[in-house]
């Protein structure tokens, strides 16, 4: 049962991911990405990490992707503007490299399975993704990382305002 659900979500997320990069219209790609994110949330939930699953949906699928879609639809790019993909060579080359990378990771994972399963995975503690464990980690061991994120967000906000504040036309 567990395995069946896992395989279902896994196949759906991979299929969705392929759709993200193959679909023509940007909106469809974004929607496929939402689908992928939801499937990943399902995988989290399957591992018992309900909190992570909820966050995945709230933050990624619910908030970030809405902004994505908002921007894509606001720009409303037509095919003429996007243009035909002229650089077929880059595309082919990129796909080959991507597949090579994928095979490489697959190879490593396979070897990890054969070399020694004992050292394969760090044993996951009980309740590893409960709200308590995550928040305790954030406020003790990873306190600095948690706090410095605020600096990162401040910089990002200032940057967004700096770039979007209108100041005349672009010189070509």
């Amino acid at each position: 049962m567990y395995m069946a659900i896992f395989i279902l979500f896994a196949i759906m997320s991979i299929a969705g991911a392929i759709m993200v990069i193959t679909l023509k219209s940007p909106v469809s790609s974004a929607i496929a990405l939402i689908f992928v994110l939801c499937c990943i949330a399902g995988l989290f939930a399957l591992m018992g990490a309900l909190f992570m699953a909820a966050l995945q949906v709230i933050v990624y699928a619910g908030a970030i992707m809405v902004l994505f879609l908002f921007i894509i639809m606001l720009l409303n790019l037509k095919d003429e503007i996007l243009g035909e993909d002229e650089k077929k060579v880059t595309r082919v080359f990129g796909s080959i490299l991507g597949i090579a990378f994928l095979l490489e990771i697959g190879f490593f994972v396979r070897r990890a399975l054969t070399v020694g399963s004992e050292s394969l995975m760090y044993p996951v503690p009980e309740q590893f993704a409960s709200i308590e464990v995550i928040s305790t980690g954030l406020f003790t061991k990873f306190l600095f990382a948690f706090e410095i994120t605020s600096v990162l967000l401040l910089v990002a906000i200032i940057g967004a305002i700096m770039l979007s504040k209108g100041e005349g036309k672009t010189e070509y």
Binding site: S28, F51, A54, V57, L69, M73
Partner: protein
């Protein structure tokens, strides 16, 4: 898990969803009658006793209408958009305890479909997904007004979701749990209702809730006067009906959430618990209709300014003040 357990679970699902769908149907009639009352009219009262068969007549009418798909629309997305709008609203109800637990066939039955320990987050997650039905529907129609409606919807829902979530943070600080069942259990008597612990939080939440379900005064995505019908302009027949039902279901489930979080859920004296739950939800539904009958619509810039410059700071202030009170 044996057969009886499965049977009980299926039974719970059927009863709760059945009740929800029935409420959705009769909510339409309720709204029309109440609005008519507010405006000094009579409202639909011909089909059946006091118009009680009106929802069925409406459903039949919508079913037999022609299902038009506009030229240039993205067929697949156009077809699934109404479902995307409808399904999340149904999902919300799955984590809300609707009645006291009772004993059936010698087993303890909690009247909640799925008692997960992150109920509130689940609600937020599902609410966050509601917007996609509108955005995708508006875009897939390949039409100008629906697109404008969709854009408004996405901007609005993002803006108000932030305050909605932050309003809940105050509540979480008070209750210390994400579990809906526990939150209900904590509010065992009238004075322990969370509304008294979080008055400002509740105010923010209900404003956010109005915006989340796109009701007046926040119904800009479907402002008839400006956008024809907004995101659902191009939809007809059952697809339109699904949007319609989605909106009503959203109203009911958000009312149920407010009842659960702030008004003691199903708890109440004398009367049986489901009745209390329905009464409380009904009061909120009446409020929704009442507001629709009395308030004008916001202008778009007012909406944004209100969301970011009033609600958000107030929500942060609420968290701050809650923290101060808890420490003192």
């Amino acid at each position: 898990m044996d057969l009886i357990d499965i049977g009980i679970t299926v039974g719970k699902v059927v009863i709760i969803f059945g009740a929800l769908m029935g409420m959705v149907a009769y909510m339409t009639l309720f709204e029309r009658r109440v609005i008519a009352f507010i405006q000094g009219r009579i409202g639909p009262n011909r089909v059946g006793f006091q118009g009680l068969l009106q929802p069925i007549a409406d459903a039949v009418k919508l079913l037999f209408k022609e299902d038009v798909t506009p030229a240039g629309a993205n067929k697949f997305l156009f077809a699934i958009a109404p479902m995307l709008s409808f399904i999340p609203t149904l999902l919300t109800i799955a984590v809300i305890p609707v009645a006291e637990s009772s004993t059936i066939f010698g087993r303890e039955v909690d009247w909640i479909i799925s008692d997960i320990n992150i109920g509130i987050l689940f609600v937020l997650a599902v609410t966050a997904m509601e917007v996609y039905g509108i955005i995708i529907g508006g875009w897939a129609s390949n039409s100008k007004y629906p697109l404008l409606g969709a854009l408004r919807a996405s901007a609005q829902m993002i803006s108000y979701e932030v305050s909605l979530g932050l309003a809940l943070v105050g509540l979480l600080m008070v209750t210390g749990t994400f579990s809906m069942t526990e939150i209900v259990a904590q509010q065992s008597s009238f004075l322990q209702w969370n509304i008294f612990k979080q008055p400002l939080g509740f105010l923010l939440f209900i404003i956010g809730a109005f915006a989340e379900v796109n009701r007046i005064p926040f119904d800009l995505p479907e402002a008839e006067a400006e956008l024809v019908g907004g995101y659902n302009t191009e939809f007809s027949s059952m697809k339109f009906a699904m949007y319609f039902m989605g909106e009503y279901a959203a109203m009911i489930s958000i009312s149920a959430i407010m009842v659960t979080l702030y008004f003691g859920g199903w708890q109440g004296p004398i009367l049986p618990s489901p009745i209390w739950f329905l009464l409380k939800v009904g009061a909120f539904l009446f409020t929704f209709v009442w507001v629709r009958g009395t308030l004008p619509r916001f202008r778009y810039d007012q909406l944004m300014r209100f969301g970011w410059l009033v609600l958000l700071p107030l929500a942060l202030f609420n968290i701050f003040i809650t923290g101060v009170i808890m420490v003192l």
